[in-house]
Amino acid sequence: MSKKRIPFLNAAPVTEPAYIPTDEDFVFKENNDISIDKNFASQGYWKGVLVRFFKKKRPTLGLIIVLVIIILALFGPLISGYGNTEIISANVDGRQVTASSISPRVPWIHKLFTGEEYDDPFADHTFIFGTDTVGRDLFTRTCNGARISLLIAFVTIIIDMIIGMSYGLISGYFGGVADATMQRFVEIIYSVPRLVIVSVLATFMPKGVWLVIVALLLTEWIGMSKISRAEMMRMKDQECILASRTLGAKNGRIIFRDVLPNTIGPIITQVMFSIPTAIFTEAFLSFVGVGIVLPQCSVGSLIEDGFNNITTIPYQIIPPIIILALLMLGFNFIGDGLREALSPSIEDM
């Protein structure tokens, strides 16, 4: 490149030959030479959300915790090799001995530290969390319990999301009398404590998984409907909706194709906060005795089982409690992280 000198008025005239452009100055840049601004690059909305989500420690930690528990819940029983309801027993001199109330044991670690082997019929068995009073492996049961708790939470919350979102969007979109009626209905349901709903359900439904699921279905959608209604109120007067209507879009299209994708962020956050509530409620119901029925198990029923034997085997209650606490922690962290990532404040940018 040439360097042009600016002649100063009061300086002595400098004689320099005029610059004669050469052919090289008129060559097109190769693609390789064109650089893109990587420091201030524009990025898609969801990519930005991902970046902001993983930039913070807590949400990442929460995600890792939840993933580890999901993997354990799916593959834990395969590792241990016992069945969920299998009562482990051994044949000693023609007698059946069940492995009841055995403390946590891993034979090779025991051998490593003491140099000896266990001197009972289950010397070669591995029980990471021990066994319960009946003789079932607690590790397998904890994994299965976590699986059932997670399954109930996910299924119900997703159905709740669909119900709540549709309800809130429709209520917000039509406004007027429809909105007022629908909101009164929500208020009335909202002012019935969940416990009352569960107990009335318990009068005619058999105890078990379905009772928990229906109870959750009846209560959890309200939060979602409130959020999506608020989003709809915010969205519906914007120009894009007006444009869509001008182009002849029907109500259904505006509600579900135009507005819904824009409300998905807050809804996902709400889902992340609802899942721990669902797990908590399930644990509570199972603890009280109207949830999961034996021999199936969930986190809550395992805690109840541990509580019943706390004076004899105090460690039995610990694994399900830790799983429950970690699940709550993980989902709360993810929820917090998502909320911040979806609606970034200026400080985070």
Binding site: L195, V200, F284, I310
Partner: protein
């Protein structure tokens, strides 16, 4: 303001009425027999149905039920289906037990939570702040009954400081453990909320102005920051109070407290479902819930003039 309160009161009463109606109809029309048919003969069941008025039209039944609540405070001809104990005779003691323990828990929780939250906000990003965060995470993640189990295990079983089960003759001593375990969730919520509110207020312009005018220390915190930061806490307190009544369920079951929670658990998880108890307790719970919400809304309106203005407009 009076008009606003009256309107809210009317709505609350209407809500309770509708809930009562729906619960009543649900319990009455549900399939299934309220009596254990394998233990009672057909004649016995018929006699019992006649005694409880189950053969009347449902409208008549409902009117009688409502009349009974107001005339003599009994919930229908309600008595336990299993041991014949009338609801009216057990209810006052249960409600007073639950309320005293729940009240202690909410008092303790609010005070400790506020202190923790304020300390954390004043020492932002310091040791105390981290401590407060850890406490609130634990409090939110671990259910209250787990705390109850462990407190009971250590302080009543390993070291016998407190009675192992609830004993109404030593009320104060035996209320300590359940009150502490119930309050942990409220401590966590209130501490976190107070901290966030205070940090937000401390960053606001009017606090900067007050500081620029030369205010600092205690007067700044109590007169300027806390006044504004504490108002929204009333909204968190409302669900907490209600939750303490319902959350006390399991704690009451574990510690053997004769409260409405234990009554409810026994009614739904006992040897069979006790329809009369479920209906009566359901109505009581909903009424409590609505009443607490109403009080909170009104108190909030009194505390914060901005709410009053919008309420008038709307």
């Amino acid at each position: 303001m009076a008009k606003y309160i009256l309107k809210r009161l009317g709505l609350a009463i209407l809500t309770i009425f509708i809930i009562t109606l729906v619960l009543f109809i649900l319990v009455r029309i549900m399939p299934g027999n309220p009596f254990p048919s394998e233990r009672m003969s057909a004649e016995q069941i018929a006699a019992k149905r006649l005694e409880m008025g189950l053969d009347d039209p449902i409208v008549v039944q409902f009117i009688n039920y409502i009349k009974n609540i107001f005339v003599n405070g009994s919930f229908g001809k309600g008595s336990s289906l299993y041991n014949g104990v009338p609801i009216k005779s057990v209810l006052p003691a249960c409600i007073s037990n639950s309320f005293r323990i729940g009240g202690m828990a909410i008092l303790f929780g609010t005070i400790v939570g506020l202190i923790l939250g304020i300390c954390a906000a004043l020492n932002k990003n310091h040791f105390l702040d981290v401590f407060c965060t850890v406490i609130s995470i634990i409090g939110v993640c671990v259910p209250s009954y787990v705390f109850m189990i462990y407190l009971q295990y250590f302080f009543s079983y390993k070291i016998t400081i407190f009675p192992f089960y609830f004993d109404k003759n030593q009320f104060l001593l035996s209320a300590v453990l359940p009150a502490i375990s119930l309050s942990l969730f409220s401590i966590a919520t209130i501490a976190r909320f107070t901290r966030n509110e205070m940090v937000e207020v401390m960053d606001s312009d009017y606090v900067l102005l007050a500081q620029a005018k030369g205010m600092h220390g205690a007067p700044l915190i109590t007169k300027h920051i806390l006044r504004n930061a504490l108002i929204p806490i009333v909204t968190v307190l409302a669900p907490l109070i209600v939750d303490l009544l319902t959350g006390a369920l399991v704690v009451e079951k574990i510690y053997g407290i004769n409260g409405i929670g234990k009554l409810m658990v026994d009614a739904i998880a006992g040897e069979g479902i006790d329809y009369n108890y479920v209906l009566a307790l359901g109505i009581i719970y909903s009424a409590l819930y609505t009443a607490v919400m109403l009080v909170v809304d009104v108190v909030y309106g009194l505390l914060d003039p901005r709410i009053r203005v919008t309420a008038k407009r709307g």
